[in-house]
Symmetry: C2
Subunit: 302 residues, 2 copies
């Protein structure tokens, strides 16, 4: 599979600290200034940038006695670096929410797909507006989300099922749909006509286990007929199998957006089945969200 000769990414990509430093240099136009901002000394910054240039084999900044500017290549590298740092920020805010299980001002319960793909972005936006709101996150299925809310162990929930659990009010915050995907080499990727639901039902698919949200939606749409090629217990495992060419899979648009953009997977048009589903914010009937929960709710709609 992946070649063992290829030394790991971590050896070829500068670490986060170096990338943050590079972004600071780009923004401030000076090594010393960037060092100050990050709370390190100027020689440390100087040496770190230099060793990054050595590692990449590319000159990144033009130094002068009046400051430092990015080279053309440096500007490009800095933009790519920003992507890594942004992903790291999402990771950070998510991990923090996961850690502070107790006594937070805003306790969120969310389904897996939403927690994976949408929540970090929302939390970053929330932090931008209200920097000191401590958020805690509990991820689980719809039933678990409902349970937490009703036990007053969460202030706001997010679910992605077809139905709203009883005892909860809800509002639709986004739409999602399941799509059929295969690896680029699969015969279906060269089809001209859209796929019919009969064909889909007749073909063994890479699926989530029974009981998962996605599986429920698919089974309902096909009339309980989806045929498993294999059943896996996480979206990630399903994606990996599909990318590896094991067969067609049915997954949330959210989950495969990046794989589609990278052409690691291709989407197969469907003719007659609508696998749309709503993503909803939920809360105990009558208890409209207030305070930070209300702020978060507003963020999610737009």
């Amino acid at each position: 599979m992946s070649s063992a000769v290829t030394s790991s990414l971590a050896h070829r990509v500068p670490d986060l600290g170096a990338l943050e430093l590079l972004l600071a240099v780009a923004r401030l136009g000076s090594l010393g200034g960037a060092a100050r901002e990050l709370g390190i000394t100027q020689p440390a910054a100087s040496s770190r940038i230099r060793s990054m240039e050595r590692q990449l084999g590319v000159a990144l900044v033009d130094r002068s006695p009046r400051g430092s500017r990015l080279t053309d290549a440096g500007a490009l590298v800095t933009d790519w670096a920003r992507r890594i740092v942004e992903a790291a920020e999402a990771f950070d805010v998510g991990a923090q929410a996961l850690r502070d299980q107790r006594d937070s001002r805003l306790r969120v319960a969310a389904s897996m797909t939403i927690a994976e793909y949408l929540l970090p972005g929302w939390l970053l936006a929330l932090r931008a507006g209200r920097p000191d709101t401590a958020v805690s996150l509990l991820a689980g299925n719809s039933a678990a989300v409902a349970e937490r809310l009703l036990a007053d162990e969460a202030d706001l929930g997010f679910v992605e099922g077809l139905t709203v659990p009883t005892g909860l009010d809800s509002v639709v915050i986004a739409h999602d749909r399941l799509i059929v995907v295969t690896a680029p080499g699969h015969p279906w990727s060269r089809r001209r006509r859209p796929l019919t639901s009969e064909e889909l039902a007749a073909t063994p698919l890479i699926l989530r286990e029974k009981g998962s949200g996605t599986r429920q939606v698919l089974d309902t749409a096909l009339g309980g007929l989806a045929r498993p090629l294999i059943e896996l217990s996480s979206t990630t495992a399903v994606k990996a199998a599909a990318v590896g060419g094991a067969g067609p899979a049915v997954l949330s648009e959210l989950a495969v957006r990046e794989e589609l953009a990278m052409r690691r997977l291709v989407s197969i048009p469907m003719a007659d089945v609508s696998l749309a589903r709503d993503l909803r914010a939920v809360w105990p009937t009558g208890h409209r969200p207030v305070g930070p929960a209300r702020d978060l709710l507003h963020l999610t709609r737009a």
Copy 2:
């Protein structure tokens, strides 16, 4: 601005090596197996995962004498980690292309926006299909791209201007458009009616310098009338100024997609101006791309 107390991301986010290790553990279901794959010893993997758990304050894997499985929180963390690693892969493939200036099998010349936002994804896809194609990248404006191609110093080019440089054949590979954006707090973000071109032309904007591709398109669309609030020399600088609330900016949709998703910027609808532009692959007239250049060209269209 950003608080100095907040210790840097790098202290709260595990480094790339640790994240890669976590992904390997998730995939293989065993610390030792993951260690083997990454070419380190089992104790090293064990300790690294443990220190990552300590750093995050979250249990990530359930160890047992028969292997290790991710906890629920671990699954979530792993998915967020995958995002970082994917961004790092894009960085890596881009940096490599930037380094290998000479004697590559495939020499690409691309405009800044394309090099920044699209090319790494293409190169990853290309590498997936042809793992050993050495690619070199030169980023510059349309004129520079044309020059390289005509001097036979590049095999395939990508430009985003309004016109195709003479001497080159081209094919449209994607569409882009410029959009007006502001920070979320700006008055325009609460407008109900779309913006007219008169209003846009009458308002001082954060702009790229004259001569840049985006500026050209905007000036043409407004009849050469764009009024600068400030002129900055990179897309990134413009974005940063806009995010900071300095005023409205006009930027490529590609460049601000993530900022929009994160709600760091909001898009202001335009009534009567179309700021669409084509992204094109280009090559010297008559010399249709062959070999790796042809493969890359195919990847970009879909």
